[in-house]
């Protein structure tokens, strides 16, 4: 028995709890010290079969602009946000459960051959948001922790992969503020080399007695930190629950989606895509419920900040989530530097809306217009056949779309006519 395990046993024996059992060994500490955890098993997800055939049938009904095709790329349970490896070796996919999936297309036929869990010795908690630095460091933003996996693209084949804290457990937000909902965090590395992480606030409308605490931590905001975890600052204020952001490939400015207030009616308030031009800007929550619609809870109150209105108003309750700027060469030139974003679909609207991939074009003056790009995941009985979550670009210029209802990644590519 190692000394550490002995200490843990002693600590447990002294805790006087109702029933005793062995504590989970701290595998993160072992992986940080390049030690083996003894874990050898992966969970491998079967590809193909009847389940895949069912999804392919759904994809036959998806409408796309002329010349575009959609196909099943991988079966990935609970698939949320996507991080494509900068070398194109592997794609990582987060979940709102306890797993991160690695997705590998070994024979490069643009369909994945293998899907298995990443770093199986670690217990993740809502690892929704993976993101890569251009030099191959994988970051995973969880409910209340951020980890980094150096050279994950090359070491992921082993169950033990070097892993380190960027923000250790319990330091991302105060533990008393943890929630399961509005905790699908996303991350991206900015042009400044810093890590940008969204922190949704857990309420429909943030209550007054939480506002000071939330402002201090950047809950209901987007924070940025150095990749070693230092230098934390709140970059964005007045966010309700942002689950997608990316940096404009030319201007380097941050654009992000936000999910707006429920319970005000089927058609208000609008969803949002926001354009941030400076650190510390405020985007209106909780005084605004979406667009310029004031919340009932703060009706008539003077708004204490200068508020930036959304660049794009989207259909109410469609749930705009993941987004990526398109920088590839495969699609027609009009898509260059456009935003591809996913609408997850409404949950409480009388008639469901969303469940589609949108494209937003931005002109030279920065004016943005949005239109549907891929749709058809709501059937004639108003039942969801899929719910898109995130969009990411592969190296060949095609895009991947994740779907957490079907549990899949789709690939959309351009063939021309």
């Amino acid at each position: 028995m190692t000394k550490r395990l002995l200490m843990a046993s002693i600590a447990l024996a002294m805790s006087g709890t109702a029933y005793a059992q062995a504590p989970a060994p701290d595998n993160l500490e072992k992986l940080s010290n390049f030690q083996s955890t003894g874990t050898t098993e992966f969970t491998v997800i079967e590809q193909g079969g009847d389940y895949a055939e069912g999804i392919k049938k759904t994809l036959e009904r998806i409408k796309l602009p002329d010349g575009f095709k959609i196909g099943l790329y991988a079966i990935v349970p609970d698939a949320r946000h996507i991080a494509v490896g900068p070398q194109g070796v592997v794609t990582f996919v987060g979940t709102r459960k306890d797993k991160v999936w690695s997705v590998t297309d070994r024979n490069k036929d643009r369909v994945a051959d293998e899907v298995k869990d990443f770093a199986p010795s670690l217990r993740f908690s809502i690892p929704n948001g993976p993101c890569f630095s251009s030099d191959g460091f994988l970051y995973i933003a969880e409910q209340n922790r951020v980890l980094v996996f150096p050279a994950a693209e090359f070491f992921y084949e082993s169950p033990d992969v070097a892993a380190f804290n960027v923000v250790k457990q319990g330091d991302l937000i105060p533990t008393a503020e943890e929630s399961y909902n509005h905790t699908a965090r996303v991350c991206k590395i900015g042009p400044d080399g810093k890590l940008y992480i969204s922190l949704g606030q857990p309420f429909n409308v943030a209550p007054e007695d939480k506002l000071d605490l939330y402002r201090e931590w950047g809950i209901g905001g987007i924070i940025r930190i150095n990749t070693d975890g230092t230098g934390r600052e709140v970059y964005t204020y007045g966010v309700r629950n942002s689950v997608g952001h990316d940096f404009h490939p030319v201007t380097g400015e941050l654009w992000w989606t936000d999910n707006q207030v429920d319970g005000m009616g089927d058609d208000i308030p609008p969803g949002e895509i926001n354009h941030q031009t400076a650190a510390g800007q405020h985007f209106g929550h909780p005084w605004y419920g979406g667009g310029d619609v004031r919340t009932n809870e703060y009706a008539g109150q003077e708004v204490p900040y200068d508020v930036v209105m959304p660049a794009v108003e989207t259909v109410a309750h469609a749930a705009d989530l993941g987004m990526s700027f398109y920088t590839g060469n495969m699609f027609p030139t009009k898509y260059k530097n456009a935003i591809f974003s996913a609408q997850h679909g409404s949950w409480n609207r009388t008639t469901p809306v969303g469940a589609r991939v949108m494209v937003t074009f931005i002109d030279a003056e920065g004016n943005a217009t949005i239109e549907p790009f891929a749709e058809g995941w709501i059937d004639e009985n108003d039942e969801y056949l899929g719910r898109p979550v995130d969009v990411a670009q592969l190296r060949d210029g095609s895009i991947l779309v994740s779907d957490d209802l079907a549990g899949a990644l789709y690939r959309i590519w351009y063939e021309g006519n």
Partner: protein, 203 residues
Amino acid sequence: MRRFMIALLGGLLSAGGVSAVAAQDASTPDADALKDGRKVAGMCRTCHGLDGLARIPIAPHIGGEPVDYLIAQLKAFKTGDREHEMMTVVASGLSNDQISKVALWFSHFEVSGTLPADTSEDDAPELCVGCHSANGISTLEDAPNLAGETNIYIETQLKAFRTGKRVHDVMTPIATDLTDAEMQAAADWYSNIAIEISEPPGK
């Protein structure tokens, strides 16, 4: 305390053999009420499924849930005793009649929980089995099924009882003394159970 005794008694009574299927109501539910309940359930289905098999991990499975538990939770969301960003919005718009009917709808399903092949009921978390059974199918009208719930959902509820965000005569004292590791172990046990929800026979 009295309810806690009943809870323990319920545990003892069920110890002789844990039924795989919970019969929530011996009588046949009123067909019109069921139809009305199905209509109300239209607003639940995106997250909980029309049959109560959850479609998103943050939502619990509610098909085959004890009707009294469902009514109590919806009323708690409605009054603010229990808070959730989505459920507070939903429940605030429901009448008591709608609550009864939608609870009837979801409770009328049959539900079963099957342990993974390599596990034994003896390994189930002992503090939980009295009310929730080893296979996560409730033995009491006041306790939810836990079979197949996402482990983080169960953990979140246990922590809510520990911090006082959620209050219950039995669960509050139990959760108060649990460590994070114990919560995780209990949550993992129930999340690994396979849940099946089906229409009752003869429908």
